[in-house]
């Protein structure tokens, strides 16, 4: 019980709540075929994963956003080399309450809504109802990605509600008539309604789906990453190879995301 660091193949994966289901299911099946290995999975958000990678408290950081320049520098400074692997693709879906009549929005409208400039659904073609935007916590890669891609790096409105994970967002949106939120593709369900998005000021609107994410016609597509340090390569190689293998990519698809090939 007092042995340091347990068995040889023990590895820790931490970070993104978006990638979490993939990692958890992959770990479940990886263990079945590779007894003797041990994979600890923790969520908390992409920021938690990368921060843990910097602190040395995780082997793999799962992230739904690209690592920041700053974070890369810190790793380099500590004398380590960073490795980045794309393990899946995700489309960021914009969801509203099923009863909401609005079915399409442009990037500009979304930006206005989430920065608090557009406050009522009637301003974007819906009914006279207050818009209730939901966001994720600042630790979320999904939060960062949305901020970069849709808000063009502007800040969310102060006073936006912050939910700890995608699941909680879906729960809240399904209960709130005026709600609007962003979630990873895999979290879509019939409890919420996904709307079509236009990135070209209204010329074309595309609905999010695995197909439109794969052929990149849906504008809000992002890779999901595993980050690790080169010195841990031997430790993590087997699991990452597994995730990139056809079996692993099946799990990606099964969870609702887009495979890398």
């Amino acid at each position: 019980m007092l042995l340091y660091a347990g068995s040889l193949n023990a590895q820790r994966v931490k970070g993104s709540e978006t990638v979490l289901p993939i990692t958890q299911m992959a770990a479940e099946s990886f263990i079945k075929s590779h007894s003797g290995s041990d994979i600890t999975v923790t969520g908390g958000g992409s920021g938690v994963g990368i921060s843990s990678l910097l602190n040395g408290t995780t082997d793999i950081a799962q992230s739904s956003r690209r690592i920041k320049f700053e974070e890369r520098k810190k790793i380099k400074f500590a004398g380590n080399n960073l490795r980045e692997v794309e393990v899946a693709f995700d489309a960021l879906a914009i969801v509203v309450h099923p009863s909401n009549k609005v079915s399409q929005l442009t990037r500009e409208q979304l930006s206005g809504i989430f920065t608090g400039k557009i406050k009522n659904w009637k301003e974007v073609g819906g009914e006279d109802l207050k818009i209730i935007p939901y966001s994720r916590e600042t630790s979320s890669g999904t939060y960062e990605f949305f901020k970069e891609s849709i808000l063009k790096n502007k800040n969310f409105m102060s006073g936006i509600m912050s939910m700890p994970a995608n699941g909680a967002v879906i729960q809240s949106v399904s209960q709130t008539r005026g709600a609007i939120a962003y979630v990873g593709l895999a979290y879509l369900s019939n409890k919420v309604k996904a709307i079509s998005v236009s990135y070209d000021s209204g010329k074309t609107f595309v609905k999010p789906s695995v197909k439109t994410a794969k052929d990149k016609s849906y504008p809000i597509v992002r890779p999901l990453y595993y980050y690790y340090l080169s010195k841990d390569e031997a430790k993590v190689k087997d699991f990452i190879d597994y995730l990139l293998s056809p079996a692993g990519q099946e799990i990606v698809k099964k969870t609702g995301y887009v495979a890398v090939y």
Partner: protein, 284 residues
């Protein structure tokens, strides 16, 4: 007449309040028991979670909680009892003791998240233990230390002085008196405090968020430097994470029920033990 009516109203209200409190307890417990009881079976208690946390069991979380509780007791109980022995048997009644008691009370009122913050800074980062059962146990031990100290102090104080003077009169040293007479006599009450703290520690989430908790462990933790799952954290992630919250909901109810049962069993055990011991003392 006016006064009598006022009294009737007031007393009726208070009676109502009391039943209201009972009602609150019943609805919370009922909510969990009714929804959770169908989920609990042997598999649930002994298997790992599967199918993306929508099926299987919560065994690793139960084991993790068990490890954390034991770990926290290892740190808090010996140190807590020793501290209590110092303040009741050695320190007298001057400023020092009053100051120590004040500090113990202060520690007792520190919010659990601050313990988590401190635990992360000291045990995980500074001392380099990382996210581990060790860090989590130390943090939880610190959290429960004031409780152990307080109950041990009360237990020691309840031992009649006649025991002490009798022992000293027979030529025993102070330490021998404490070891062979006072401590055994106070032990049942001290045990009550330990049982109470088991109930407390099992349910704490905030201190373990950043010191030990993991979302999923396919195997059980192998060493004290591993992360662990734990029941309260498991309930939190089942209630907020995962792709299909609806499907995880039954597991959440089951986890809540197991957690409540553990906490309540220990709390009630401590309460009844205390009642019976007090009766015994009164008889003496």
């Amino acid at each position: 007449m006016n006064q009598k009516i006022k009294q009737k109203i007031a007393f009726f209200l208070f009676r109502l309040f009391s039943f209201f409190i009972v009602g609150i307890l019943v609805s919370i417990l009922g909510f969990i028991v009714i929804n959770g009881i169908g989920v609990i079976n042997w598999d649930f208690l002994t298997k790992s979670p599967t199918e993306g946390m929508t099926a299987g069991g919560i065994f690793p979380a139960i084991v993790g909680t068990f490890y954390l509780v034991i770990g926290s007791l290892i740190f808090a109980v010996p140190l807590g009892i020793m501290s209590a022995i110092y303040t009741t048997e050695y320190a007298g009644n001057g400023y020092i003791v009053r100051f120590i008691r004040l500090m113990t009370n202060n520690l007792a009122s520190v919010p659990s998240i601050v313990f988590g913050l401190f635990g992360m800074a000291l045990f995980v980062n500074n001392l380099g233990f990382g996210d581990s059962i060790l860090a989590g146990s130390l943090t939880l031990g610190l959290l429960t230390l004031p409780l152990i100290i307080r109950t041990s102090e009360e237990a020691l104080k309840a031992v009649p002085d006649s025991y002490r003077s009798g022992s000293m009169a027979l030529g025993a040293s102070k330490l021998q008196t404490i070891r062979k007479v006072v401590l055994p006599s106070a032990l049942p009450n001290i045990l009550t405090g330990v049982i109470l703290s088991v109930g407390r520690v099992s349910g704490e989430t905030a201190p373990i968020l950043f010191t030990v908790a993991a979302y999923f462990l396919p195997n059980l933790p192998q060493s004290i430097f591993d992360q662990a799952m734990a029941l309260p954290y498991h309930l939190y992630v089942l209630a907020t994470s995962g792709t299909d919250l609806e499907a995880s909901r039954p597991m959440a109810y089951g986890t809540a029920l197991v957690l409540i049962i553990i906490v309540l069993v220990f709390n009630l055990a401590a309460t009844f033990m205390r009642q019976r011991l007090n009766k015994k003392f009164k008889q003496n």
